[in-house]
């Protein structure tokens, strides 16, 4: 039986692992379908303290993993199919049939890129629709690309994609952008970036060889048009990875896990949540890491309590 199983290996899960490992609790960390989490698909991280010159997202995650391993955190690849959280210790069932048992559980499964949910989108993922510029930008050398979204990530992806594309058009539903000023300014100064604001994406238009255009509606005039493009990068935020929990834990209406304010405690004793999987308005690497430390400390306290009774 494990003292603690951590599910998810973004900054939250790995920080929790570092803390638990340093406390000699030998945590078992399960790496799922997106090892390293969202940061592995970013380029440079400029706001993580301690790196005055910035650091590449994948490198930062590799460092965190090494740091956890240094203190003997155990890592394994696995895909958790289901849980039984109705009694302690908890049971986890992995794809392939293996069962794991643990006294405590930290959920740090994060959030995954959200799609627009418009016709033509899903069937063209990998045929011109993408949610990962760093992965797929390379295939659009000299081509026209649309980035949908108005947040920091959309600005960053658009900026990055100008390395490959002949033109990058940012399409955003609102006239105003959600992105921070520094990111907006950087995008506006890039002369390869053009703008289609106040336009709602309606449909991905595709031909035999994949994406050919994006149909949008002008929100002021109601007029519809098709913008020609070879690729559509969707950067409109994230959706929490909580479906596999099958409703065993309390979530908000969107699916983010609810925790007791100021702690990492979920509604089930012994189950803790940290990072983007819990309702959290900040969604930064550093806040995820911070909440990972909180979860580890909460686990430690909890284990002390149950062992003293």
């Amino acid at each position: 039986m494990e003292n603690a199983i951590v599910i998810g290996t973004g900054p939250a899960g790995l920080t929790a692992a570092i803390y638990l490992a340093r406390a000699n609790l030998e945590p078992l960390v399960i790496e799922g379908p997106e090892p390293g989490g969202q940061l592995t698909t970013t380029t440079e991280v400029e706001n993580f303290p301690g790196f005055p010159d910035g650091i590449m997202g994948p490198e930062l995650m590799e460092n965190m993993r090494k740091q956890a391993e240094r203190f003997s955190a155990k890592f394994r690849t696995g895909w958790v199919n289901s849980f039984d959280l109705s009694k302690r210790p908890f049971n986890l069932f992995l794809e392939g049939g293996e069962e794991l048992v643990t006294k405590t559980l930290i959920l740090s499964t994060g959030a995954s890129a959200k799609y627009l949910g418009i016709p033509g989108e899903k069937e063209n993922v990998g045929r011109g629709v993408s949610t990962c510029a760093t992965c797929d930008g390379f295939f659009f050398r000299g081509k026209k690309i649309i980035v949908v979204g108005g947040g920091d990530s959309a600005m960053e992806e658009a900026h990055f994609l100008t390395k490959f594309a002949s033109e990058v058009r940012i399409v955003n539903r609102r006239e105003e952008l959600r992105a921070s000023k520094i990111m907006q300014d950087r995008a506006r100064q890039n002369n390869k970036i053009t703008w289609s604001l106040n336009k709602t994406p309606l449909e991905v238009v595709a031909g035999n060889s994949g994406v050919a255009g994006l149909k949008v509606r002008n929100n002021s005039t109601g007029k519809e048009e098709i913008i020609d493009t070879d690729g559509i990068f969707v950067t409109i935020g994230h959706t929490p990875n909580t479906k596999f929990l099958n409703g065993q834990l309390e979530t908000d209406e969107v699916g983010y896990l609810k925790v007791k304010p100021g702690t990492s405690e979920t509604n089930i004793l012994g189950v803790f949540a940290c990072g983007d999987v819990k309702n959290n308005k900040y969604r930064q690497a550093i806040t995820a890491a911070g909440s990972g430390a909180m979860a580890a400390i909460d686990v430690e306290k909890f284990l002390e309590q149950i062992e003293n009774h």
Partner: protein
């Protein structure tokens, strides 16, 4: 998984008898690293198919020709023609890959 070394080798392999699965990837792609953790185990269960890895940067021409617009992608060839194309967004776990490969039978 054996890696394709030359254009000639690629051509020869896709013309081989039976099914040939080409995994397009790149050194800098996080989803490719993810897939590499388990693809080795999966392909053992498909002795009827031959699997090769193709560096998309090294063989950009093939990536273009076969419409690879995201990686990793698994392209299935038979008699030199591409007959199926799975993109990684739908291939994050061993089960998803197995389900896809199961659909391609002689």
């Amino acid at each position: 998984m054996e890696r394709i070394q030359s254009q000639e080798q690629f051509q020869a392999k896709i013309n081989d008898e039976g099914y040939t699965v080409m995994k397009f990837d790149a050194t800098w792609c996080p989803d490719c690293k993810n897939m590499d953790r388990f693809i080795g185990d999966v392909i053992k269960d498909y002795p009827d198919k031959k699997f090769y890895a193709v560096d998309s940067e090294q063989f950009e021409e093939f990536a273009g020709k076969y419409e690879v617009k995201g990686i990793p992608s698994l392209l299935v060839f038979k008699d030199g023609e591409k007959i199926a194309h799975l993109h990684s967004k739908f291939a994050k776990t061993p089960t998803q890959i197995r389900e896809y490969l199961d659909t391609i039978k002689a």
